[in-house]
């Protein structure tokens, strides 16, 4: 088994001449919970569809479980080993909850009846109700049930908590964490909810305009990023050039705020050496990292 369960190299895709992916490099470690972040239209859903073999990339390569997604036989195997929740949450409209479960089950040899029963109860899904009569949140839960019960090694979740109320969101996240803890299932999920990503993800990737702008372990990222606040006691005299690692410098009166992505000690030293300064350092949240990267690029 590879170190990475998903691996793309320089993946490109255009729609009617409009580039959606511009050389995407994505690496999702086995056993991780990977939060895939980006603004609307950044290329998240296109990436997920390419991984699922639902659309064909123009260039570059993508492998899931080490199998190229363009491999016809491989693609079937890949889909059998993946649990999938899409953004549009389209399901067969003529089926009831009970019917779609019965319909899905035989495709997956590792189907877990225990999980199916558990989520049916926990999510309070009405077995006899037809899919179009379900609320958006109910449909999300049904898709999660179908994805989780198949005993997948990898869950690909496109906005899994979209449309859920806070209580249902908490339920879903808690279950995802429980599954990851007990079965070691890798999870790759896209989301706009930075707070939930910050809680359950151990790796993140931020995509902007079809390219990965930052990726890696969330803890490492938080250890490297810091915000410095430099207060000048008299006049503000900025250096002509900051050392490497300074992402932005903002000034308000005699207070200068610096976001450092790495090399923090050297930056602090440089700020200290300026005349009449007091330097303080603060931890940075995922939201700050995210906004900085999608704003500047």
């Amino acid at each position: 088994m590879n170190e990475y369960i998903i691996e793309t190299n320089q993946l490109t895709k255009s729609f009617k001449g409009q580039p959606a992916l511009r050389g995407l490099d994505l690496r999702v470690p086995v056993g991780s919970i990977f939060g895939f972040l980006g603004r609307n239209g950044a290329g998240k859903t296109t990436t997920i569809k390419a991984l699922m073999g639902l659309l064909r990339a123009d260039g570059g390569s993508a492998r899931v479980f080490g199998i190229p997604v363009t491999d016809a036989d491989g693609s079937i195997e890949v889909r059998r080993r993946i649990g999938f929740v899409t953004e549009d949450k389209e399901l067969y409209p003529y089926m009831t909850v009970e019917q779609i479960i019965r319909f899905t089950r035989p495709f997956f040899p590792k189907w877990r009846d225990d999980l199916e029963q558990r989520y049916l109860k926990m999510f309070d899904l009405p077995p006899k109700k037809k899919i179009p009569d379900l609320s958006k949140g109910m449909r999300s839960k049904l898709m999660l049930l179908l994805a989780i019960s198949r005993g997948a090694e990898l869950l690909i979740l496109d906005e899994p908590t979209d449309g859920l109320d806070p209580a249902a969101t908490e339920d879903v996240l808690r279950e995802l964490v429980a599954i990851a803890a007990s079965s070691g299932t890798t999870m790759f999920f896209s989301s706009h909810q930075l707070a939930e990503v910050e809680l359950i993800a151990d790796h993140i990737g931020i995509i902007d305009q079809g390219k990965m702008v930052v990726a890696g372990s969330l803890d490492d990222m938080k250890a490297q990023y810091q915000r410095l606040q430099v207060v000048f006691t008299s006049s503000v005299e900025m250096p002509s050039r900051w050392v490497e690692g300074v992402e932005y410098v903002r000034q308000e009166g005699r207070v200068v705020s610096i976001l450092a992505s790495h090399n923090v000690d050297a930056i602090v030293e440089q700020a200290r050496a300026l005349p009449g300064t007091a330097v303080e350092r603060f931890p940075v949240t995922l939201k700050e990292i995210f906004l900085e990267h999608v704003r500047s690029s």
């Binding site: 056993g31 808690r174 809680l199 359950i200 803890d219 931890p283 940075v284 949240t285």
Partner: protein, 135 residues
């Protein structure tokens, strides 16, 4: 042991867990041989990534605070008791520093900032770097 997380602090969650276990040992809330909740339980209770809990427990094991017994869980190690005595000494030092600071009339938040800033200047970054190298 009940953990609490501060999501908005920006401090990595595994460091928050580590600090809380150490603090519980220092105050005597956790003693030698006490069992910590399983990784799954912590992850589910706090709705956080199990790998993050693993990382915190491993680091605590590395620092000699915990012992991880395969299959049965995490236990506070005997040696941790000696650390508690040292911590009580440190507590006394901080108490006297606080008494001397009292006439300045700083707020609690201000005191905390001064302390944390000094700490970050002298030790903070080094600890983070050490932490990174561990699995």
């Amino acid at each position: 042991m009940i953990f609490r997380l501060n999501q908005s602090s920006g401090i990595p969650l595994y460091l928050q867990l580590i600090e809380q276990v150490k603090h519980a040992v220092e105050t005597g809330a956790l003693r030698e041989g006490d069992q910590l909740p399983t990784i799954r339980k912590v992850a589910v209770d706090l709705v956080m990534n199990p790998n993050t809990v693993v990382r915190a427990y491993r680091e605590l094991e590395h620092e000699g605070v915990l012992e991880l017994k395969h299959g049965s869980g995490a236990f506070i190690k005997e040696a941790a008791g000696g650390r508690a005595r040292v911590m009580r000494k440190a507590q006394a030092v901080v108490q006297s520093a606080l008494e001397r600071l009292a006439p300045l009339g700083l707020s609690e938040d201000e005191l905390r900032r001064v302390f944390e800033n000094e700490l970050a200047q002298s030790h903070g970054p080094k600890r983070l770097e050490n932490g990174e190298g561990n699995p």
